[in-house]
């Protein structure tokens, strides 16, 4: 099985790729338009340098060779959303060539990263079609991979990794990833066009893999074709269109002279959440996936994690708990509030909105005295809810930590006290 992708990412610029129209989301259709993005006769494109700079940053992050002098081509096809009946895009002169993305157990090669313009939005009604040219000319990069992905898991990992890489270089794609999927189980390549979102991409791939393997099992050969994905029944449908390069009739875009990108600065150090998570997980004996989830798409969380583990002197599990709180309560959890928050966590107090408000006011946890009797009662309740616990404990006394945490958190009793009482109770049980 081979899966390749053509991922489309809208670049976060203020103006469009070839004109000064705004890229802002507006409700009123056809308001952010001008003769250039409408393709009026006599208008000409002029290149938005900021879009090129961001594209160069992406190419750099995906380990591409950077083309120092980029050029554009015209891709000609007739469709109502394409105002000039050709799209300005890139081929040999693409900003990035021959890159790669490293996954946990494999590599995905990037064939090229090209800058191109988005067509208009097509709104289909029952009896007519509407066009919104606000989207026409929005800068995109298309990331074209080799067909290196060989499983659904790898596809999911690649998309996640790609999104996090983009995020950490400042390309915060608020809109979902859009991509065309190329899947071939046998010789012929099937292209599934315009799938939006990581979940849909993975679902579409799963369906298509199943569809093709069933054809093969019954002795058939999947046809070379273009299909589209339908979310509702989760299936792919043949689009009955066959396009080849022949029909696009590429020529160099003669209105844009070659553009040198050597003067465009890109961030030198790309913060890689995966690398940070892996290093910290190893060093502090934590779970890599948990850490990655805590800091992915949140640079503040990443620096707080680093601070918590490396500088605050707090136990790793407390820091992880604090990060979990940060995920829910945001900015209130920071370097300054971390020590106080740690007090609450260590006392086993459930962190909720009230606690966060107390922390913001600088109030320490209230001393709640829970009697030994009550504590014992809570522990016994928990033990009878988990009848298998005793057996587990016999094999591995370490599981006691789990029980301590649970009771302590649920009832706001300091961990040490709970631990003492549990040991006392267990000792009796095991006599």
């Amino acid at each position: 099985m081979k899966i390749g992708l053509e991922v489309h990412v809208a670049l976060p610029t203020h103006s469009k790729l070839f004109c000064s129209c705004s890229t802002a989301d507006v409700d009123e259709p056809n308001t952010n338009i001008c003769p250039i993005c409408m393709g009026f006769p006599g208008s000409k494109p002029s290149l938005n340098e900021e879009a090129v700079r961001i594209a160069k940053t992406i190419a750099n992050a995906l380990n591409c060779k950077i083309n120092q002098s980029i050029s554009f081509v015209r891709k000609v096809y007739f469709y109502p959303d394409l105002p000039k009946s050709f799209q300005i895009t890139q081929l040999q002169g693409s900003i990035g060539l021959e890159g790669e993305v490293t996954l946990s157990s494999s590599k995905v090669h990037i064939r090229r990263i090209q800058i191109e313009e988005d067509p208009a939005r097509v709104i289909r009604e029952a009896k007519y079609t509407l066009l919104d040219f606000n989207r026409s000319g929005i800068p995109l990069v298309e990331i074209v991979t080799d067909p290196d992905i060989v499983s659904e898991d790898q596809l999911r990992e690649f998309l996640f990794v790609l999104r996090s890489l983009l995020y950490y270089i400042g390309v915060d794609i608020d809109k979902e990833i859009k991509a065309d999927l190329n899947i071939s189980l046998a010789e012929n390549r099937v292209e599934i066009k315009n799938v939006t979102g990581i979940k849909n991409l993975v679902d579409a791939a799963r369906y298509e893999i199943k569809r093709q393997s069933e054809i093969i099992k019954s002795g058939g050969v999947p046809e070379k074709e273009t299909r589209s994905y339908d979310e509702k029944p989760q299936s792919t449908i043949s689009s009955r269109e066959k396009e080849s390069d022949e029909e696009y009739g590429y020529i160099y875009e003669p209105d844009l002279s070659e553009f040198s990108v050597s003067g465009l600065t890109v961030p030198e150090h790309i913060v890689d959440a995966r690398k940070v998570s892996r290093e910290l997980a190893e060093k502090h004996n934590l779970d890599y996936k948990t850490l990655l989830e805590l800091i992915a798409f949140d640079t503040e969380a990443m620096s707080l994690l680093r601070y918590g583990l490396e500088k605050s002197g707090l136990p790793a599990d407390v820091v992880v708990n604090a990060l979990e709180a940060k995920k829910r309560f945001g900015k209130a959890v920071n370097e300054k509030s971390l020590p106080l928050l740690a007090d609450y966590i260590q006392k086993g107090i459930q962190i909720d909105r009230d606690v966060i408000m107390r922390i913001e006011k600088g109030m320490p946890p209230a001393e709640v005295e829970v009697s030994n009797e009550d504590t014992d009662k809570y522990i016994k309740e928990e033990l009878s809810a988990n009848p298998e616990f005793i057996e587990k404990y016999k094999k591995n006394p370490k599981v006691i930590d789990f029980m301590v945490n649970t009771v302590s958190r649920k009832h706001g009793i300091p961990q040490k006290k709970v631990a003492d009482r549990i040991k006392h109770i267990l000792a009796e049980y095991l006599k």
Binding site: P35, P41, G42, S43, V76, P80
Partner: protein, 448 residues
């Protein structure tokens, strides 16, 4: 001497512009120089604008039915610059549809030659040349892809100037072939060209191929004739050209002959590149955003735009079909990419010659043909008429076409080619030429 300065100095009657328009309207019925006349012109030196250059608020069709009714919401950069400097748009001039032609006959109502109404005006900037030939105080903003300024200028006996590619912004020009298109001028004297150039050149952020350079006024004593081109000129034109060369020798120029065998590839290379680009430029005309509108929205998009595109003329359709073929993946390297390489080779060869000399030739290899005769030419015959104007146009070198003789009452043109950015050197050559050669005009509309 410039007609612009003469015009500015002269006292003008209050009804000057209305009289001018009146007379032009009447003459236009005969010569068809203008597609649109600007009835509101009331001051400034009159300039006409080729109908493929956008003027805000004025119908601009490039003489194509498919653009009927297109009123651009903006003006071309060159028009904005000239309007700021005291020039006023008098109207839009007739042309071969989208610039596709050498005789001005590929349009609804072809312009006619003021020296003989049965003959063509030349193309594609036919109306620009006719307007310059019949009006005393006027200059034309025109455009050349492969010779569209020089050819009609020579047939109508006016000065035609095609600048170095990139010197004048193309923003606002309805493209024929973007890597070849150059906006330029026609006038009755080289001095007027110098003035128009000084107001028009300079980098424009809206056209990324425009350049910012200081033009030098180079003087060259050596002028070179390319043998391969000389051999293909009509006999009567050759005789006239030889006498022009003698005149230049007498004036102290050194005339030399060189052989550049590669020059023979200029015409096919030019048509391959220009058709490939033209076919992409024409793709945008689909009949629903501007110009001709198809009202029947019940059709599928493919049927809908196919119907709209029936409005293209025959030559436009030929360029779409051939251009689309040339771009096809299976032949692209054989034609398009090879043509791009040969263009570079020819440019290098000519560049070397132009290091220390100007290249000289007649502008056209024939006298202006009769309209009936031109209509019977095959496409190949048509294309080969451009053999003298294509080499410099293909390479983006500047040229000036100067009236140099009159055979049986018909003007003959002399074409000088300079190196890149030697535009002012060519204009100086023209001024020197005009010191000893007086141009003839049959009409002087707007005389003061």
């Amino acid at each position: 001497m410039t007609y612009v300065n003469e015009f500015l100095k002269k006292e003008k009657p209050a009804d000057y512009y209305s009289k001018l328009l009146e007379e032009l309207e009447e003459k236009n019925n005969k010569f068809h120089a203008f597609n649109v006349l600007n009835k509101r012109i009331s001051d400034g030196f009159p300039i006409s604008v080729k109908d493929n250059i956008c003027v805000k608020g004025m119908e601009t069709t490039a003489s194509s039915k498919i653009l009927k009714g297109y009123i651009p919401p903006f003006s071309a950069t060159v028009i904005k610059r000239l309007e700021k400097d005291g020039f006023s748009v008098l109207g839009k001039t007739n042309m071969d549809e989208f610039g596709f032609g050498s005789f001005g006959i590929n349009c609804e109502v072809p312009a006619r030659n003021p020296f003989d109404e049965t003959r063509v005006a030349g193309g594609s900037s036919s109306g620009a040349a006719v307007a310059t030939s019949i009006m005393k105080y006027h200059a034309a903003v025109a455009e050349s892809t492969g010779g569209s300024i020089a050819a009609p200028a020579s047939f109508c006996g006016v000065v035609g100037f095609t600048p170095t590619y990139g010197l004048i912004s193309r923003y606002g020009l309805i493209d024929y072939a973007n890597s070849l298109d150059k906006i330029g001028f026609m006038a009755r004297s080289s001095g007027d060209i110098r003035l128009l150039m000084s107001k028009s050149v300079g980098v424009d952020p809206a056209d990324t191929t425009s350049v910012d350079v200081k033009l030098s006024d180079v003087k060259k004593e050596k002028i070179v004739v390319i043998d391969e081109l000389y051999d293909k000129i009509d006999k009567n034109i050759k005789l006239s050209f030889d006498s022009s060369l003698s005149r230049l020798s007498a004036a102290g120029f050194k005339v030399q002959h060189v052989s550049i065998p590669e020059i023979d590839y200029s015409v096919p290379v030019y048509y391959i590149i220009s058709m490939a680009e033209a076919s992409t430029n024409l793709a945008k005309f689909t009949g629903f955003k501007y110009g001709l509108k198809v009202d029947d929205f019940s059709k599928e998009y493919n049927e809908f735009f196919t119907e709209a595109r029936e409005a293209f003329g025959e030559e436009a359709k030929r360029k779409i079909i051939l251009g689309t073929f040339i771009r096809g993946a299976s032949v692209r390297s054989k034609y398009y990419e090879k043509a791009l390489r040969i263009r570079r080779i020819i440019r290098d060869k000519l560049s070397k010659v132009l290091d220390d000399s100007f290249i000289i030739s007649p502008t056209m290899p024939v006298l202006a043909p009769k309209a009936k005769e031109a209509e019977s030419f095959s496409p190949i015959q048509n294309y080969s008429m451009d053999l003298l104007t294509i080499p410099p146009n293909l390479c983006g070198f500047p040229t000036i076409s100067l009236p140099s003789d009159y055979i049986d009452g018909l003007p003959v043109g002399l074409q000088l080619t300079g190196g890149q950015f030697e535009d002012n050197g060519l204009i100086s050559f023209g001024e020197q030429w005009e010191d000893s050669f007086k141009y003839k005009f049959k009409y002087n509309i707007g005389e003061l």
